[in-house]
Symmetry: C2
Subunit: 247 residues, 2 copies
């Protein structure tokens, strides 16, 4: 029977700026029995952001008038100021909630700025500056240390329009094909398929979350048995403006 | 190491109205080594719709003026007429593409009407009338035949605002908790979590798609190792109007 396995990587230490995350992941993979050809390594965004030093102390932030307005009565204006700094565009707001388009083109709550699990209540975590570059860099380091070149996905939890709850999706990709393009293929009865592009990288990130979410001590997982050989970036998962029905 | 497994169920016959899908799934589970307590059975919507007879022959459809308009030059007005019949509201249209809110409250392309993999080019497949009821019914039948009561998810491929490609999500749920509610819990460093609800059922559906998508001959999969004990429906995954920032 065809099978996909998601194997959580435990035992990583609490991470901080400058830590060699690639080496820590390589060690964790070894403890999990080793990487195999075709494996995809999914790493939580927060782990990547921490080692890249993408942390802001709220004490250092001076909120603008707009941040004060967006915070409303419940929000922290300093946190909203950080969110505005990460936003290319505010798509929706209902104080203190902001849905923003980040400079990467991702539309998500708080422009990806996260107050949870940071180093102290007065610190927030930002998305990596270039999550695709983060994924490439981790891939190179893991390959160097293990001799196996995995696909790498940097994942984050995003809300969706019209649906409750978040799912993890891919914000950074290296060494795998993020989209499965079925255009022109035909299904078993011979008719043109409706769903022409499958977001494999997002489904892989979501599958990994089922393991990552079990404990804060599991910042990464191996996804084994998917066929995503190829290459690409998470930018391919951003809807191009000319196809966007929800600008 | 914590692990989740997705096991594809092969060997089901081509399905048609009235087939005992629950019995076929029970047999397929037996061939895969048997169901275990805590397993979730993910079944593709199209398989469910076919056995429930949710098929429409386009030759029997008389298109309205609005269907002709929405079809534009490229679409089939009869197919658009079926889509309108399944829609509570057209959310966006760019002929022949329609994004609609179905009577279930799902916002998706073509109101879930699918022309692929149907029984002939002149037949389309509709979503089940009540996918939660479909899931409950399959769960009861599988439990009756195997003695194990799995969670059941009926899955379909939905596009997303702002992102390219579809991911599979849950349109019907039985015998599992579709959302993981983290409100009030605190993470490992002790701060309030940002992401308060995780759409487990959607991540499970997406994980299953990684196996279902490998071949048209795999209409279902077992997802093993997730902790979603509880109960609920896919209606809980529909964003309530008062929380919806994208009405």
């Amino acid at each position: 029977m065809p099978e996909v396995r998601v194997i959580g990587l435990e035992g990583l230490p609490e991470l901080g700026p400058g830590d060699d995350l690639g080496a820590l992941l390589a060690e964790a993979c070894a403890r999990a029995g080793g990487l195999e050809a075709g494996d995809v390594l999914v790493v939580a965004q927060k782990a990547v952001s921490k080692v890249e030093g993408r942390l802001v102390r709220l004490a250092d932030v001076e909120p603008s008038a707009r941040a004060v307005e967006l915070a409303g009565e419940e929000g922290d204006p300093r946190q909203l100021e950080v969110i505005l700094g990460e936003s290319a565009e505010v798509v929706r707001s209902r104080p203190p909630l902001v849905i923003a388009r980040t400079r990467h083109g991702f539309v998500c709550a708080s422009a990806g700025v996260d107050a949870s699990n940071a180093k102290g209540p007065e610190t927030v975590v930002l998305l990596p500056v270039d999550p695709d570059a983060s994924a490439r860099s981790l891939r190179e380091r893991v390959t160097e240390l293990t001799g196996v070149a995995p696909g790498v996905v940097v994942s984050d939890s995003f809300g969706r329009a019209w649906r409750q709850g978040t799912t993890d999706i891919a914000i950074g990709v290296a060494g795998l094909r993020p989209l499965r393009d079925l255009r022109g293929t035909r299904d078993s009865v011979g008719y043109e398929l409706r769903s022409t592009m499958i977001a494999d990288a997002d489904e892989i990130a979501g599958a990994a979350e089922l393991v990552l979410g079990k404990s804060a001590g599991i910042p990464a997982a191996i996804v084994r048995g998917v066929d995503v050989s190829g290459d690409g970036t998470a930018q391919e998962l951003v809807m191009p403006a000319d196809r966007d029905l929800f600008p």
